[in-house]
């Protein structure tokens, strides 16, 4: 029970947000209408992605000093899990954009930069494939991962604020918090973020365990 409580918590929170997010009342806003419910599903994807990528950078830094294979596997598996959430974030965002902005992809800076930051991690995975020697691969990819992380932060959090964007929180548009995230939505939104972060972390631990079993089999 000690080890599984957070998995149960994550599952319960995500089931709760799926039900409550679709059934509970939301503010009536022009243009957004009922699509505002996507907030519970779109935004938590990015939170989960950022948390997973941060875990990856943490283990990359650790693997540079410890040179342990386990740290390297943790770093790559958290990137793998994080990319899933990044892609889901792009897809949920694109669907939302279709119904509110009119197009799946409307050359919005936020969308473009998010796509580029996902590309950054695809480049990381390709770099890993390019190197055969295990220790060298661990070292070089860790270095690229740490080097790329500040750039991702600039891409996702700094640059969109300088450009005009339709996305809330950018280019002079107020963020959700300031005008329409009323208390009813908060009741669902915060649990959703926590729940998806926990689920993302769970996905990462499962992937890591699978990977280490495969690794063990290869060595035997």
């Amino acid at each position: 029970m000690n080890k599984t409580w957070w998995k149960i918590l994550g599952s319960v929170l995500v089931i709760y947000t799926a039900i409550a997010g679709l059934l509970l009342g939301v503010p009536r806003l022009p243009i957004l209408n009922e699509s505002i419910r996507n907030l519970y599903f779109h935004v938590p994807m990015w939170f989960a992605m950022i948390v997973l990528f941060s875990i990856s950078v943490f283990y990359s830094i650790k693997s540079l000093s410890s040179k342990s294979e386990i740290d390297d596997m943790k770093a790559v598996e958290s990137v793998n899990a994080g990319i899933i959430f990044g892609l889901l974030g792009l897809v949920t965002g694109a669907i939302w954009a279709k119904y509110t902005w009119g197009q799946f992809w409307s050359f919005d800076p936020k969308q473009n930069f998010a796509a580029i930051s996902v590309l950054l991690y695809f480049a990381y995975l390709i770099l890993r494939n390019a190197i055969d020697e295990e220790q060298k691969r661990a070292k070089i990819s860790a270095i690229y991962n740490i080097f790329a992380f500040p750039m991702m932060v600039v891409l996702l959090f700094v640059l969109p604020r300088l450009k005009d964007s339709l996305h809330p929180g950018n280019g002079g548009n107020p963020g959700f918090n300031s005008y329409d995230l009323d208390s009813r939505m908060r009741m669902v939104f915060y649990p959703a973020c926590l729940g998806w972060i926990l689920i993302g972390y769970w996905v990462y631990t499962i992937r890591f365990r699978l990977r280490s079993i495969e690794n063990k089999q290869q060595h035997n």
Binding site: I116, L120, A123, A130, F147, L155, L159
Partner: protein
Amino acid sequence: MQLAKEVKYLIHKEVLLEWRSKYTINGVLLYVVSTIFTCYLSFVSLGDKLAWNALFWIIILFASINGVSKSFLQETKGQQLYSYILTSPAAVLISKTVYNTILMLVLTTIALGFYTLVFDSFTPPDLLLYYVAVVMGSISFSTVFTMVSAIASKAGNGGMLMAILSFPIIIPVLILLIKLAKNAVDGLPWENSYDEIGMLVLVNILTVATSLLLFPYLWRD
């Protein structure tokens, strides 16, 4: 002080090596000039100043990837081992970055001159601000590409990896540069560009700091 001496010596070595063969500078120069000329022959005249600006930066981007990636990819294993024994990794990285910056400054200045000569219809009214953007571009391209080329050369898989690894990292910088250059093309007053210049300086400091922290790990084999 030891570091400064090493850096000075290494830069001197790089410049001397380049001066003897003149391969990189002439090669990349010819690359830029022929690219600009090819663009001129295919476009004949550009539709508007936005396209003028974008085309210039695309040409510079590819030229600088070619120019800067030489710095580590070209060195043999023996040369790297030699400088590894003699100097600190920080000195190697700083000297390469400074040398690449000098190289890029020469290159982009000539490229800008030739570009405005060929496509003369949209020469920016504020040429000084545009040149500031070009200088900032030279510095940022060399800081980012030097580190990425070190990573790519250690991965032992030259050209393609270099492009894949550097594009996602350079895009934020490139966006800032194009915005800054666009201000110059539009002839806006300098006050409007301080944000972008500040951001570029910040990104460069960030890149150099992370490079300096990480390079010693990369250097050791």
